[in-house]
Symmetry: C2
Subunit: 269 residues, 2 copies
């Protein structure tokens, strides 16, 4: 008896789920039934169920029961620019076309526009003083009616003063803000940098994405900084934070010549 009883019960239930004896979404026996069938105390079967819940194998609903979790069909976003349109899967129209191109229904909220002073983590990336006025545009995106990503882009208010007034409008800029700023101000983005990191979700993200309230499901944050040339060399002029729940998102980056079409399915190794 190297393994404690609650682990053996958990293992047995896990096998029933992985083998398909209990299908995704299906209800497991109640705690009292499990107590009888495994001849253990209710607390012990609860330990087993909690072990599985922590690992995302089952979820418990008070008053209802314990259920095998459903896997969400992941969506693959292309971070590199489409060679045809020059848009990546993160910008307005590029995102929508990528979603519908995969036969899924995309929906983006109207941007929530705010003017505020730059917090430290934005000021650092825009190379402005902490407390400088900035403009943020926040958009919620849904795929197949499920919350999928949360995007916030920050610009220096300077750009609005220079004439990029559409940034202030709470409406989409379908051609993408990079193209808009180029056409309006002659501001050319000569390059950009993406930074990816994985962290536990904060409270807002748990609520918006309906994530389990333990930190089990992480979010991927893509920080995209756009650069232009100036007398001081390359300087940032916009930064975008996009938050993706890690359980329903994958990313693709293409370099040079690669075949088009569907990227391959999920990876094991």
């Amino acid at each position: 008896m190297a393994e404690p009883m609650y682990r053996m019960i958990a293992q047995d239930l896990l096998e029933k789920i992985q083998s398909g004896t209990v299908r995704p979404g299906e209800q497991l026996p109640t705690e009292l039934e499990l107590r009888d069938s495994y001849s253990a105390s209710r607390n012990t079967v609860r330990d087993a169920v909690k072990w599985l819940a922590t690992r995302g194998v089952v979820e418990t609903r008070p008053g209802q029961g314990t259920f095998a979790t459903q896997r969400i069909e992941p969506f693959v976003s292309t971070l590199s620019a489409d060679p045809e349109t020059g848009l990546s899967g993160m910008e307005g129209a590029g995102w929508l076309s990528e979603v519908s191109g995969r036969g899924r229904a995309g929906m983006a909220s109207a941007p929530r526009v705010e003017v505020r002073v730059a917090p430290r983590y934005i000021a650092e990336r825009l190379h402005v003083a902490e407390g400088t006025q900035i403009l943020t545009r926040q958009q919620e995106r849904y795929i197949d009616r499920t919350a999928w990503s949360l995007q916030t882009t920050a610009y220096p208010m300077e750009l609005v003063a220079q004439g990029a007034t559409r940034l202030l409008m709470a409406e989409d800029i379908p051609e993408g803000t990079v193209a808009y700023l180029r056409d309006t101000l002659g501001l050319k983005q000569v390059g950009h940098r993406d930074r990816l990191l994985v962290r536990p979700p904060d409270e807002n993200e748990v609520r918006f994405f309906k994530l389990p309230d333990d930190g089990r499901v992480s979010v991927v944050v893509v920080v995209r900084t756009g650069y232009r040339t100036s007398s001081e060399g390359l300087v940032p002029f916009r930064v975008t934070f996009t938050v993706f729940p890690a359980d329903r998102n994958q990313f693709v980056i293409n370099y040079g010549c690669v075949p088009g079409g569907e990227p391959p399915g999920p990876a094991e190794g």
Copy 2:
């Protein structure tokens, strides 16, 4: 009493940790001490500690006690190629130079070379029949003596027959295999695709990276597929799976002209 007692205890301990009253790595009071100071039963303080442990705030060590967790200093890997060397932060010498360039000590094991039949997920990506002979090279990488990533690259055995015999040697190819295959076989990689996904670690990964045995810390898998041209168009000729623990790794991708030097610090938004 909206909040259950174990949550209030957990909240109180969390604040002590976040405010620095209990420093990272420091030991918390024992369960019996907590039971007395909160006037609760030992099982209830255990529920509180477990709630914190699930979220990675504390870790418990049998026979020792409960400790506030230490954050690992993340390492940032550049996925895009260095404009100077043409190497990315994932290939042999490119990786080492990126690590030492940040003032950290990198160490890579000698590759473990294996010849085997292609499992499905590799066969799919190399566009060969399941069961075809392939060559895999697996390397373990350490930073500051901590296990940092696990990389496996698969090639069709065909390449060895054509003369790329150094692939069979259990030793590094410092110039990178892409350059080696080009110089030896004239095989030119015209592009590649990276696919990133986040998933819970498997048993091997938990052991190698010393991750907590619940699925709390995920791993990031970077699947890199290299393409060459042939009479049938673009075809894959190598695929690399690199596994990174998400708690100690970040990624950067540069497009076009971007400033060099240190990328900015960790993100909040």
